[in-house]
Amino acid sequence: MFESPKSPLASAYLRFLQLAQSIQALPDGPTMDANETAMLEAVVLRWHEGQPMTVREAIGLAHLGSPATLHKRVTRLRHKDMLSTHSQDGDRRAKYLIPTERTLEYLSRMGHSLQTVQLDKA
């Protein structure tokens, strides 16, 4: 009952599935720590609501840290290509924080993982 399949093709397919999962879980590029993730989530949620956050608003999120700390965090997220800034025409003083393509891919992967977990539980 608990024996693995004898067919080389069936075994190969199972190993391929396992390998594909491991390859997808390989670390890619600079990873974010928990503080950066919290910052990114706050910014992306506002962007998703159609009201992108300005840099000034982001560094004012007191529950995430002091303005100096948050400024460094925003800078790190920009260097990691997770956030970009955008100014509106006519008002170049306010810089809005916008998720990058990389962030959207990251969110898509997280959504896919969530879906997989739900399917596994069902």
Binding site: S4, P8, A12, L17, L19, A20, I23, Q24, L26, R109
Partner: protein, 188 residues
């Protein structure tokens, strides 16, 4: 006559398929990265090194035999004379990753090599295999050659080339799977 009723034939077919893949991958790598070649058969970016990892982890011994056959085909296509060098190169090329896999299974007390394929162990396997492959090749050439110093000089490029080739191939696959994931089976 379904092939699945004859596991030996199935394994043989997988070996032939692996050999063809390895042969063509070698040619493509030569065409793509000729400027990175250190010497004949040694490249600073050796993508077939990555194929060795995939074939052995997915197909096991069938994949290893396929690599041996593919390596012989590559050598024979360039110099159609059988020699100890050609035979040894092929055997080392195919059996080293398989032996490393078996050694890692044994050292970690694993019954199958499925648990071996975790991201961390995968990276570990790539690095150990790259080092062992270069070591076995160079020991073999060192024994066969009279002028031994030039043989030793290829050790570092070969280790780096195999490791880089494997990592590049694995990350190309990761890029592909991130964009086009395998379909999730419907549990209903």
């Amino acid at each position: 006559m379904p092939l699945r009723r004859f596991p030996v034939l199935e394994a043989g077919a997988l070996s032939v398929l692996s050999a063809l893949l390895f042969y063509f991958f070698f040619q493509i790598n030569h065409w793509l990265t000729e400027h990175l070649e250190h010497s004949q058969y040694i490249n600073w970016l050796f993508l077939p090194g990555g194929l060795r990892v995939l074939l052995v982890l997915v197909l096991g011994l069938s994949g290893a035999f396929g690599i041996v056959l593919g390596s012989w085909a590559v050598s024979f296509s360039e110099d159609p004379v059988w020699s100890w060098l050609m035979l040894g190169n092929g055997l080392i090329s195919g059996l080293t990753p398989w032996l490393i896999m078996r050694w890692m299974m044994h050292s970690q007390d694993l019954r199958t090599h499925l648990p071996l394929i975790t991201p961390r162990r995968l990276i570990g396997f790539v690095l150990v295999y790259a080092l062992a492959n270069a070591l076995f090749h160079h020991l073999f050439w060192w024994v066969l050659s009279e002028d031994r110093w030039p043989q030793v000089q290829g050790f570092l490029p070969m280790t780096i080339g195999d490791a880089m080739g494997a990592l590049v191939l694995l990350y190309c696959l990761k890029w592909t799977l991130d964009r086009w994931p395998l379909p999730t089976p419907d549990p209903r």
